[in-house]
Every structure is written in structure tokens, then in C-alpha cells.
């Protein structure tokens, strides 16, 4: 394990960004987002959750796929995709890092999504352990340890020291290239880090959503949950916006659209939301005709369908973004509590 004083972070960042793009939580117009680091940017490593999750870096909200240019009777095909840039994303929280594993299950399964894969290959994930979790956090429910995040490299900030540990071969190789900036961590450092983790763990145990139970959310309960009369009640406040899906680190639905530029077509894909009325619209119409069905789909997908198809892994990491941001404060926690086994008597 290495260490570097937080006073020297700018040097570290400028060294990293020397030959590749560096993304991290940056404040712009009052909101914190993963954005490209530059020396004059306002870095916010203390922010717990960015508004949009860092999945944007691997699966951008919109990306060009291909373009067609039309001239007279000729159509030329232009490859204008762009995902070859090597980059480092720094400051990813444990929940968001876990979300990449979930996205991998979707995009790296056969047939592999080459756009996503290229970005995964080109990107190095440097995580940052949480030290001040919020009341909306419930990552522990999904077995995520906020004090020991995954990723290629994990970091911890304790007082004014940042600890740096490579977790994968890729992380190891990258650390080699910048190791001159670090000092080696000694026994005392390890002790300090250990006691810091213990303190945070105590807070995590006290979090109000820490004991949220997922009992009953399994494939056996699929029909029972699907047919539950509770969906109607739960969804009645939903305004059908896409906030929850667009800020969610694990939502992965997209749409492919053609934009007519007048002289040609730009084909792109962009995030879609199951909360939207035109989601699943086909030539014959839309099988989901009401918000109740759309709402049910989102939560059934996260809590029942996804684990059924992926060895019991839920498609939620407990980051708490939807808990904080839903315009009508309806969220996965309320759904889990209402639909859970205890309440369902």
C-alpha cells in the first residue's frame, strides 16, 4: 500500500492526466458530477454521491453509433463512434464500483457490447472509500462494504493522508507508472486506516436503512409479486419522469434513434427509461399502457427478474440516489418495505 498527503493531490492528478483523461467528482454550477479534471476545476472528493453515477463514462447518456451521408443517389457510411480514449476515473464510491459489475453482466454477456467493452478496457477505476455515509445509503443491504470498495485501485482518505492500494493487475500496472509520487505506507498507517474503517463501520451499522430486508424477493415469488395489488397504490404518486432511471448506477436500458440532419442520418443510442410512456412501444402499440405497469416493471426488474437471471444478484447497489432525488419521494426502499415478506401478510 502507498500513501500521499492530500496536499499533494493536485500533483498526483496532473501527473495522471498527463497522458490520459482523468475524471472525478467536480462541482459545476452547484452540482457535483464526474467531469474531466483540470487544474482550475473545483474537486469535490467529499461529495458522497454525484447526481449522475459514473456509469456515464462507460455507458454514456448518448453516443454516436454510425452515420449515413446521403449525396444524390449515394449513401456513404461513416463510422463516427468514439470510445478509444484511455482514461482514469477517480473517486468512485463502493456502491458505484459494484454497479459496474452489474453492468458487466449485461453488456459483456454474449453478444458483447463492443462500445461498452472498449470503454471498460480503456478505463481504470480508482475507488474512494466512504467516511461519512448518509441516511439514504443502504449498500450494506446488498453486501457492499463501503469501507473496502472494489475497482482496479482502492483509496482511503484518513485525516490528511490518501492511501492507495492496487486491487487488480491493471491497477498494479498503472500504479507502477506513477509510483514515484507516493510514499510507502508503514505499519502505523495500516493501524490508522484500520481504526478509521472500524469507525465508519460503526456508522454504517447505525444507518436507518441498514437492516432493510430483501426476504421474499426471489424468483419463486415472481408471480405473487407481479400480481400484487400493492403496485397500484405505490405507483399512484409516480409522475412518470425519468429521474430515478437516469441517476441510477445500474439502469441499463437504451434506445437507438436516427437523427435526420437534412443531409444524412446520425444514428445514436441514448438512455431510455421504463418510466416513459413510449418505452416498449412497438409497431402494434404498447403492451404497458399505464404507469402502474411501468412502475412495476422497474422494480420487478431490479428485485426479481435480474436476480433470477443472474445468480441472485440484485440490480440495485443501495447508493440512495433515487431516495434523495425522486420528485415525489417514491423509491426502491419504500417499494421493498411495502412489498417485502413481513408486510405481505
Amino acid at each position: 500500500m502507498y500513501k500521499i498527503s492530500t496536499d499533494h493531490l493536485t500533483e498526483l492528478f496532473s501527473s495522471i492526466s498527463h497522458d490520459r483523461a482523468l475524471y472525478m467528482p467536480i462541482e459545476k454550477n452547484g452540482q457535483v458530477q464526474f467531469d474531466r479534471w483540470m487544474e482550475d476545476k473545483k474537486v469535490r472528493l467529499d461529495a458522497l454521491n454525484t447526481v449522475k453515477s459514473p456509469k456515464d463514462l462507460f455507458f454514456p447518456q448518448s453516443e454516436n453509433i454510425v452515420a449515413f451521408k446521403i449525396k444524390g443517389k449515394n449513401i456513404s457510411i461513416i463510422e463516427n463512434r468514439d470510445e478509444s480514449e484511455p482514461f482514469v476515473v477517480f473517486g468512485v464510491r463502493a456502491c458505484d464500483a459494484a454497479s459496474f459489475d452489474i453492468l458487466d453482466m449485461v453488456f459483456l454477456q454474449d453478444p458483447v457490447d463492443t462500445y461498452y467493452k472498449a470503454r471498460r478496457d480503456n478505463g481504470i477505476v480508482v475507488t474512494l472509500a466512504c467516511s461519512e455515509p448518509e441516511e439514504t445509503c443502504f449498500c450494506s443491504v446488498f453486501g457492499i462494504d463501503a469501507t473496502n470498495p472494489s475497482g482496479d485501485i482502492a483509496t482511503w482518505i484518513v485525516d490528511d493522508m490518501l492511501y492507495w492500494e492496487s486491487l487488480t493487475e491493471k491497477g498494479e500496472r498503472f500504479t507502477e507508472t506513477i509510483k514515484d509520487l507516493f510514499e510507502s505506507a508503514d505499519f502505523l498507517d495500516e493501524e490508522a486506516l484500520k481504526s478509521h474503517k472500524e469507525d465508519v463501520e460503526k456508522i454504517i451499522e447505525k444507518l436507518p436503512l441498514h437492516d432493510l430486508s430483501l426476504d421474499g424477493f426471489n424468483s419463486e415469488a415472481m408471480d405473487e409479486k407481479f400480481n400484487s395489488p400493492k403496485w397500484e397504490e405505490l405507483s399512484e404518486a409516480c409522475i412518470g419522469c425519468g429521474t430515478c432511471t437516469f441517476i441510477c448506477p445500474t439502469c441499463q436500458c437504451y434506445d437507438i434513434r436516427d437523427y435526420d440532419t437534412g443531409q444524412g442520418i446520425q444514428r445514436f443510442r441514448c438512455w431510455d427509461s421504463c418510466m416513459y410512456s413510449d418505452f416498449t412501444r412497438m409497431a402494434h402499440g404498447n403492451p404497458r399502457t399505464s404507469q402502474v405497469e411501468r412502475f412495476r416493471q422497474r422494480f420487478m426488474h431490479k428485485l426479481i427478474y435480474f436476480p433470477t437471471n443472474n445468480d441472485g444478484v440484485y440490480s440495485c447497489v443501495g447508493c440512495g440516489r433515487c431516495v434523495a432525488k425522486c420528485p415525489v419521494s417514491m423509491n426502491i426502499v419504500k417499494v421493498i418495505k411495502a412489498m417485502g415478506v413481513d408486510e405481505n401478510v
Partner: protein, 152 residues
């Protein structure tokens, strides 16, 4: 962010003029038959009434590369449909004020009342407007880059 004065002296602005069928379009016609000249880069779109112009039309014109948009209708009081241009007047005042508020140069939008008998006015207005847009240069604030990329 500032709009650089175009260095390319060959800059030819693209101007979209929405003209109502009953007055302004006829005014343009008269300008033509009277052999009055107005810039060739004014593209006229005939609409039944100035009130038919949906704000979306104006924004879409800018999106596709227009450098200026002008709406021409019958003089207030002379609308073929009695009151259409009164509504258009309010709507365009508010819309153009809002575009100005968003930082779009206010010279890029204009409303003029041109009757069927005012061929001279039509030609003067278009020459003037074209000059303004020439001075403002290319529309960079309200255009869709994708449309531009495909042009070459």
C-alpha cells in the same frame, strides 16, 4: 462564448422569412414584379397567417442553420382572418424577448408588417435585415452542430 466577427468575407447568411399568404407574400411578389432587388439568401416560407408560425418553426430554422429569422404579416387590423396577427404579435414579442434573455443576439429575430402593396417596404426590410445579419455573423448559439457536420 462571444460571437467572433466572421473573418470569412464570403460569409453569406441564410435568412428564413415566414410570410403570410395574404399580405407579405404578395408584397414579396410585388417586389419581384416591380424588379426591386432583395438578397437572394432570404428564403421565403409561405404560411397562411403570421399566427400560424409556431415557436418551434423558428427554433427549427435556427437549428438547421438559419442565421436570421423574420416573420412578416399583414398590418395589425388588416389580417385576412381579422385577428391572427394580433395574437402573433404578442406571441413573437414574448418569444423573442425570451431568446434575448437566453443570450441569443436580438438582431437575429424580427417581425415586420408588410402589406400586399408594399413591395418597396419588403425589399427595404430584407436588405436591412440581411445587412444586420451580415454584421452579426454566423449563428453559432442556436444551431445544431450535427446539421453542420453533414454539410461538407
Amino acid at each position: 462564448m462571444s460571437i467572433e466577427k466572421t473573418e470569412d468575407s464570403n460569409f453569406e447568411p441564410l435568412i428564413v422569412a415566414f410570410c403570410c399568404n395574404w399580405c407579405s407574400y404578395a408584397g414579396a411578389d410585388l417586389a419581384g414584379t416591380s424588379r426591386l432587388s432583395y438578397p437572394a439568401n432570404v428564403k421565403i416560407i409561405r404560411v397562411p397567417c403570421s399566427c400560424r408560425v409556431n415557436p418551434m418553426f423558428i427554433l427549427r430554422a435556427f437549428q438547421r442553420g438559419a442565421d436570421g429569422v423574420i416573420i412578416c404579416g399583414c398590418h395589425p387590423g388588416d389580417c385576412h382572418y381579422s385577428t391572427g396577427n394580433y395574437y402573433a404579435r404578442r406571441r413573437m414579442t414574448l418569444l423573442f424577448s425570451m431568446l434575448d434573455y437566453l443570450g441569443i443576439e436580438r438582431g437575429r429575430t424580427r417581425v415586420e408588417w408588410v402589406s400586399a402593396a408594399e413591395g418597396v417596404k419588403f425589399s427595404t426590410v430584407m436588405n436591412e435585415f440581411s445587412k444586420t445579419i451580415h454584421e452579426l455573423g454566423e449563428n453559432k448559439k442556436l444551431r445544431d452542430l450535427r446539421c453542420k457536420e453533414f454539410l461538407d
